[in-house]
């Protein structure tokens, strides 16, 4: 290696060679289509779906991949307070400017090249006037800011996600606004040009602070606040090992979700002051607030399911936890209890904050009016059930987000975690354009509607087969007793039947057949993936 810059570049290249090879192959295919199959210079009328499938989806996936690669996001803990910049590089004989500068230079250059390659090689629909420079600059700016914000240390776990998403959204919003008002390319360039230098300065400060080991800490403030009513209890003994473990899980992961929701809520509800005169926007803001806990739970799930929160590179269970004299099922039960408390705490915040915000903004009458409309439309009992069911669905969905990937994270195998991410992205990259394609075709929509019961039936078969396999493995490995398995199955049946009963009562019989609602109820209540968590933990714990 001739220089440190070459060594840093080599590390990116070597570590992500398969991703880069895949990208090169994709660009080669595009080039082949453009140069050989389609006549050069000829305009092509590609329909939206094909264009999405061929260009937009792979490009978006690569964009996200580059964000993760060049911010070192694939090997760090996104939710942690510490900087995600690899600590091993702090001891290299390099200036902080070089440590921040080289990865940023490589990242921004890669983003710009990705755009330019796509711009020249993609077979753009004939009516699309695609600009050249400013999108490259936008992509580079987004990457540079992602690097700066992920390399920064934060005073609270999870704050990195919020700050990064909010700041990138602000940049996007500014660009969308400029596009809406048909800003010329020179103005777009003027808006975007300062971003990379500013992000570089921010990244330099972030890396310098991380190099000195500076990690701000607000947890002490929250801990002191939480300690006030807790003083007498703190000295009490835990009545059982299970309670002690549940306490540990709550302290380790439980407070992240309520904290994230508490940080976001004031910003979201503050919008009510701005848009209180526009009922539609008020409705959208409230819907956004209600979706915040499940949305943030999806981020929180990564830390809950991580088996070793202390080592950002490690997926295995720490010996401290692995040698607790508890069964793997008890360790999972403690996690589940902590996630239930976490979900309830997050929703308590939402339920307290919404009425206060409605009262302060004077938008309460609007909500009362919508309630009256609902009662008039479906009657009081149904209206009550719809509201309760909707609320329960949101709470359950929050909890489900926290626990449904437990079995992946707790497996302790890096390849399982990475494969699940790859499969999820692959499925998404197929489903999104497919859904777009189907939604624009009446015939296909009709066929899909008719096939829905069959699709649901197939999914139910998969789910129940998986659940039976998991139950047998749980029984054979002695992780759960027959009684516990039967009790769990009975509880699941009761919940499914209750949900089915409610759905039958609510849904018009003409629109949905009874068996379709039964399939929906079976699919809605978690079973197989949740039951697989003790198996995954045991697989990790006893390697």
């Amino acid at each position: 290696m001739r220089s440190p810059a070459a060594a840093i570049a080599w590390e990116f290249r070597r570590r992500h060679r398969w991703g880069l090879i895949a990208l090169a192959a994709y660009l080669l295919v595009l080039a082949t289509i453009k140069l050989l199959i389609v006549h050069p210079g000829r305009s092509v009328d590609f329909d939206d779906e094909s264009f999405a499938l061929v260009v937009v989806v792979p490009l978006t996936a690569t964009f996200i991949y580059f964000l993760a690669v060049f911010s070192f996001g694939l090997s760090g803990d996104l939710a942690a307070r510490q900087s995600m910049y690899p600590a091993r590089m702090f001891t290299l004989p390099l200036t902080t400017a070089a440590l921040a500068g080289w990865p940023m230079l490589y990242g921004t250059a890669a983003m710009a090249i990705l755009w330019l390659a796509t711009r020249f090689l993609a077979v753009w629909p004939s009516d699309v006037d695609v600009p050249m420079i400013w999108p490259a600059l936008l992509a580079a700016s987004l990457l540079a800011w992602t690097q700066a914000l992920t390399w920064m240390a934060y005073p609270m776990p999870g704050l990195r996600v919020i700050v990064t998403v909010l700041w990138l959204s602000v940049i996007d919003a500014v660009i969308l606004l400029a596009l809406r008002y048909k800003a010329p390319e020179s103005l777009m360039l003027a808006i975007l040009a300062p971003h990379v230098p500013l992000a570089y300065l921010a990244a330099r400060v972030a890396v310098a602070r991380a190099r000195r080991g500076v990690v701000p800490d607000w947890q002490g403030i929250f801990a002191r606040l939480g300690r006030i009513p807790d003083v007498p209890r703190r000295r009490e003994r835990f009545s059982s090992p299970a309670r002690a473990q549940a306490w540990l899980e709550w302290r380790r992961h439980g407070r992240s979700l309520p904290a994230l929701v508490a940080i976001l809520l004031p910003f979201e509800l503050a919008l009510l002051f701005v848009f209180r005169e526009t009922p539609v926007i008020v409705f959208e803001i409230l819907a956004g607030v209600l979706l915040t806990p499940p949305f943030m739970a999806a981020f929180g799930a990564a830390t809950v399911s991580k088996s070793n929160p202390h080592g950002s590179d490690s997926y295995g269970l720490t010996p401290f936890i692995a040698t607790r004299p508890l069964t793997s099922a008890s360790l999972i039960a403690a996690k589940l209890k902590a996630t239930i408390r976490s979900t309830l705490a997050a929703w308590m915040l939402v339920l307290v904050a919404i009425p206060i915000a409605l009262k302060l903004t004077g938008t309460f009458p609007l909500v009362i009016e919508w309630t009256h409309d609902l009662i008039e439309a479906v009657g009081t009992p149904r209206a009550i059930v719809i509201v309760l069911l909707g609320f329960s669905a949101l709470v359950a969905s929050t909890w489900k987000q926290l626990v449904q990937s437990l079995f992946i994270g707790l497996s302790g195998r890096e390849w399982v975690v990475r494969a699940s991410v790859f499969v999820a992205l692959s499925v998404l990259s197929i489903i999104v354009p497919l859904a777009h394609w189907v939604s624009g075709n009446r015939f296909l929509m009709g066929a899909l509607w008719n096939a829905l019961p069959w699709i649901a039936a197939v999914l139910v078969c998969f789910k129940l087969s998986a659940a039976v396999w998991v139950a047998m493995r749980l029984r054979d490995s002695g992780l759960l007793s027959d009684r516990t398995i039967l009790l769990g199955a009975a509880c699941w049946d009761v919940v499914v039947f209750a949900l089915y009963g409610l759905l039958v009562w609510l849904a018009p019989a003409l629109l949905f057949r009874g068996y379709v609602l039964a399939l929906v109820a079976i699919l809605a209540v978690p079973l197989a993936r949740l039951s697989a968590a003790p198996l995954a933990l045991a697989w990790n714990r006893h390697r």
Binding site: Q219, R234, R235, R237, F238, S240, P241, R243, A244, W247, L248, R251, R252, H310, T318, P319, F320, A322, T323, R324, P325, L326, T327, S328, G478, R541, H542, R543
Partner: protein, 297 residues
């Protein structure tokens, strides 16, 4: 005869192409201190992880107190005190929280003993684990491993990277545990002088195999160190039955001999050389002679 505390039978473990343990068999009766010594990567931690149930036996079997540690983790782990080399105590916990949390798992937890240990180790109950020094963290780990007077104390490289004062605390804890009748200590280390101070029985492990396992007294009695002076300088003396290793240069060479040294004495006479010193070798010398490398290599 009482049942052994640990019974490992024909245990083999592979990690990919590398064999970490090859047909290891070991039986540890109750009430003694067992030193497990070996170079880094020899298989000590792998063996200990099998004993704790953190690794599943691929072939062979592991029984602790007669139980399978994988099938019955609660039955086994509730009777073991374990201090890990990794020192992975949760950094966010305070010392008093760590004690409060740990005591919930062990019905035999002795509050008075825990407090005594805390004071002996000068651990501030309000201090967060992450703010403690490495030595203090080791002491905190030792406290929660000892406070319920476990039947089996497993220490995996406990003094690795620690200062002499903390090492003395750890050795003191081992000695106190031995003082409790019927308790057993399994002590893995590559600091052989420490093992020599406290172990009754030493098991040497090399490249996943047991190179030597015997009571320390017998090991010492069965090995001799003889220094030979040759009339002419030699690059390497010839191999002789019973000689495990030659070390030295030029005219003077030292042999570590196992068992009877008669063959060496006869050879020395035949070479026209003479034995100028004879002594009992240190455990370190015996280890190097058996595994062919210094213990901390």
């Amino acid at each position: 005869m009482t049942e052994p505390v640990i019974n490992v039978s024909d245990l083999t473990r592979r990690f990919g192409a590398r064999t970490a343990l090859a047909s290891v068999s070991l039986s540890l009766p109750r009430g003694a201190v067992y030193g497990l010594v070996g170079a880094n990567g020899a298989g000590k931690t792998t063996l200990i992880k099998h004993i704790l149930g953190l690794l599943r036996a691929e072939s062979g079997s592991v029984r602790v107190f007669g139980l399978d540690p994988v099938a019955d983790p609660v039955g086994v782990l509730s009777r073991i005190g374990y201090l890990s080399e990794e020192n992975d105590l949760p950094g966010w916990m305070r010392v008093d929280e760590l004690i409060r949390y740990s005591r919930a798992f062990y019905p035999a937890w002795d509050d008075a003993y825990a407090e005594e240990l805390r004071q002996t180790f000068a651990l501030d109950p309000a201090a967060k684990i992450k703010t403690l020094s490495k030595g203090q963290k080791a002491r905190a780990g030792l406290l929660i491993a000892l406070a319920y007077r476990p039947e089996l104390l497993v220490l995996d490289e406990p003094s690795s990277g620690l200062d002499p004062i903390v090492r003395r605390d750890i050795l003191g804890a081992v000695i106190r545990t031995i003082a409790d009748e019927g308790r057993t200590v399994l002590f893995s280390s590559h600091l052989l002088e420490e093992v020599e101070q406290v172990a009754d029985h030493v098991t040497m492990i090399s490249q996943g195999k047991i190179a030597l396992s015997a009571p320390l007294d017998i090991i010492k009695e069965s090995h001799r160190c003889l220094t030979v002076r040759f009339a002419e300088a030699r690059p390497q003396p010839a191999a002789v039955a019973g000689v495990l290793r030659w070390e030295g240069a030029g005219h003077e060479w030292t042999a570590v001999v196992r068992g009877d040294s008669g063959a060496l004495r006869a050879a020395v006479a035949g070479w026209g050389a003479r034995i100028i010193a004879e002594r009992v070798p240190s455990l370190d010398e015996i280890f190097v002679a058996h595994v062919g490398a210094p213990a901390d290599s």
